[in-house]
């Protein structure tokens, strides 16, 4: 493996230059990992805040006033769709909530625990009490609790359209991150409102990729007696904002990759020019064109591997620093590293380094040892 040993010696001989090149690649890849993760996490945070606790696709009865019979066919269709990650069949009852703090309209959602957590993540968003209401209990939003001066154990009277009234004690307070939802939504058990659970007012669905909700809705649209509504249709401006953010994210990353690539390519090209004399001598001694070029491929591979490893460490360090700052601030969001993204960034760094080596590889193949020998 002579080309590898020569490459290693070349790099070792020019230690400072090698360190600077590795630092350059490292900072570039580190920036790419950090910026990419930051933007991805920002978008995830935005999506989570805006549509993370709501349905992405909603199945509603085709005819007003009817209910959705939750048949085995529907259950099977939904369960077998890989894009769907959460299904929440539920009853929605509009009531007037009367307490010592006054009267407020509320939509009481009645669903089982799995459905509540699948869409709303209620277990994780409870700030006081418990997420699972008992027969005479209700879980309310933080903003409503503050507005009406309610606390755990407070009693609320729920009056429906027909004037029927039930009493419920507050057993939990949640914060879904959206004031309007916290103000107008509550969760109760079927027993509280005496509701049958064989048919539903609505089936809410969340999908893995929120931007594919239109395709999922289209797939489910042929179910009899059901209409589908997807969040993108109802939130055009929000969708435009999120899509613009996705495009700008990709553009930023592309430009970072281009900047890193140009940096690596130029430094490797300079390193190759500096070793022209040595390569000419080696060729005069009988080293073939292929093996001469391989010296620069190995150089690029060594620099690429070390630079990329450093870059991953730099990226991880920056993210850890950001997360440490975010932990103490409500204005910041935690940044998470997607291993696939980090691996892709590393592969891009290494790939760019190897591609960059093709320039000196070609020029080495054309190098005439006579030029080197005669020019000293």
């Amino acid at each position: 493996m002579l080309p590898f040993q020569i490459a290693r010696r070349f790099l070792w001989r020019a230690k400072l230059q090698s360190v600077l090149i590795i630092l350059g690649i490292g900072v570039g890849i580190g920036t790419q990992v950090f910026v990419g993760s930051l933007i991805a996490s920002l978008q995830a945070s935005l999506i989570d805040t805006t549509v993370g606790t709501s349905a992405h696709v909603t199945l509603e009865p085709a005819v007003d006033g009817e209910r959705i019979a939750y048949t085995d066919d529907i259950v099977s269709r939904l369960a077998n769709d890989d894009a769907i990650v959460a299904i929440a069949p539920q009853q929605r009852v509009s009531v007037l909530a009367v307490s010592d703090g006054g009267s407020d309209p509320l939509i009481v959602r009645v669903a089982d625990a799995e459905a509540r957590n699948g869409i709303y993540g209620l277990d994780e968003r409870i700030v006081e009490g418990a997420a699972d209401p008992g027969d005479a209990e209700i879980v309310i939003g933080l903003d409503y609790a503050e507005e009406a001066g309610l606390a755990l154990g407070s009693e609320i009277r729920l009056v429906d359209d027909s004037g029927e009234e039930v009493r419920a004690a507050v057993s939990g307070i949640f914060d879904l991150g959206v004031a309007a939802v916290n103000m107008g939504t509550a969760f109760a058990s079927p027993e509280l409102l005496d509701l049958p659970m064989d048919a539903f007012d609505v089936v809410e669905i969340q999908v893995a990729d929120v931007f594919t909700s239109d395709m999922v809705a289209a797939r489910l649209a042929d179910m009899e007696g059901i209409t589908t509504v997807d969040w993108q249709e109802q939130n055009r401006e929000l969708l435009t904002g999120l899509q613009s953010q996705s495009v700008s994210s990709i553009m930023i990353q592309v430009f970072v990759v281009i900047a890193v690539g140009l940096g690596i390519a130029s430094t490797l090209a300079i390193a190759a020019v500096q070793k022209t004399r040595q390569i000419g001598i080696l060729k005069a001694l009988g080293l073939s064109d292929r093996r001469s070029g391989a010296v620069f491929l190995w150089q690029a591979a060594l620099l690429g591997v070390m630079g990329t490893a450093l870059g991953l460490a730099v990226g991880w360090g920056l993210i850890a620093g950001f997360d440490a700052a975010a932990a103490g601030s409500e204005a910041l969001f935690p940044v998470e590293v997607d291993p696939a993204f980090a691996a892709t960034s590393a592969a891009i760094g290494l790939g760019i380094a190897l591609l960059s080596a093709l320039i000196p590889y070609r020029s080495t193949s054309r190098l005439d040892p006579i030029e080197v020998i005669q020019n000293g």
């Binding site: 040595q278 001598i281 009988g286 064109d289 020998i373 000293g376």
Partner: protein, 231 residues
């Protein structure tokens, strides 16, 4: 003496048409195994062109060249590189050692290029060469830390590493003071006698030329004198 190198009407032209320059024309000669030969001539006479053709660093535009019975003027780059490595040793005017490597590593480089791993026979031959050239105490020293004379001795050792049949030296004493030049010339003769390797030395140095068994003089791209042929 059997001819190891046979050059027949060897020519090298640079450029085309009106701007063409004939650096070497109709050179016909042979070099026997174990010969000690000097090529002399003024600057620009064509002697370096001839040396580059003999060393398979360049291709003739006309004529025929044989090395060890094999026609080599039409070989591709890969085959020429392999032939250079196995059968020809080079000693350049500017030493051209690799500064990244030690004296011993520079010496071993042709063997490494040939694919020989550092083993007993290669190592012992390298040790012999180091002793022969008086470099045994400098073996581990980086090549760029040597004096001009020491560097030239390393270059001689490197040229002999693969036990080539032919060593080509281009102005080997051109950059040395007279004392070092005399020492290198004496070393050439000694190595020639001890190894039986043929030496072809391009030189301006009358002392080096006079010590050769045969002198070829190149003038205006032609072989103007070949003392062995005349003898």
């Amino acid at each position: 003496m059997a001819d190891m190198v046979v050059a027949t009407d060897l020519a090298r032209r640079y450029g085309d048409g009106d701007t063409a320059t004939l650096a070497l024309r109709s050179a016909t000669f042979g070099i026997g195994l174990g010969e000690y030969l000097a090529i002399i001539g003024r600057s620009g006479s064509g002697k370096s062109t001839l040396l580059n053709l003999l060393g398979l660093l360049d291709r003739p535009t006309d004529g025929r060249l044989e090395l060890l019975g094999e026609r080599v003027d039409h070989l591709d780059d890969r085959r020429r590189a392999a032939m250079r490595n196995r059968h020809i040793g080079f000693i350049f005017q500017f030493h051209h050692l690799l500064p990244e490597f030690s004296v011993r590593e520079n010496l071993l480089m042709p063997a490494r290029i040939a694919g020989h791993r550092a083993d007993g026979s290669i190592d012992s031959w390298a040790d012999e060469l180091l002793v022969l050239l008086g470099l045994e105490l400098l073996a581990a020293k980086p090549a760029d830390k040597l004096s001009g004379g020491q560097k030239q001795r390393v270059a001689i050792g490197r040229a002999l590493m693969n036990r080539p049949e032919l060593v080509l030296a281009d102005e080997p004493t051109g950059n040395l003071d007279s004392e070092s030049a005399a020492a290198v010339n004496g070393l050439f003769r000694r190595v020639h006698q001890e190894t039986g390797t043929a030496f072809v030395i391009v030189t301006h140095d009358p002392g080096v030329a006079e010590s050769a068994d045969r002198i070829i003089e190149v003038r205006d791209g032609t072989i103007a004198r070949d003392t062995a042929a005349a003898a």
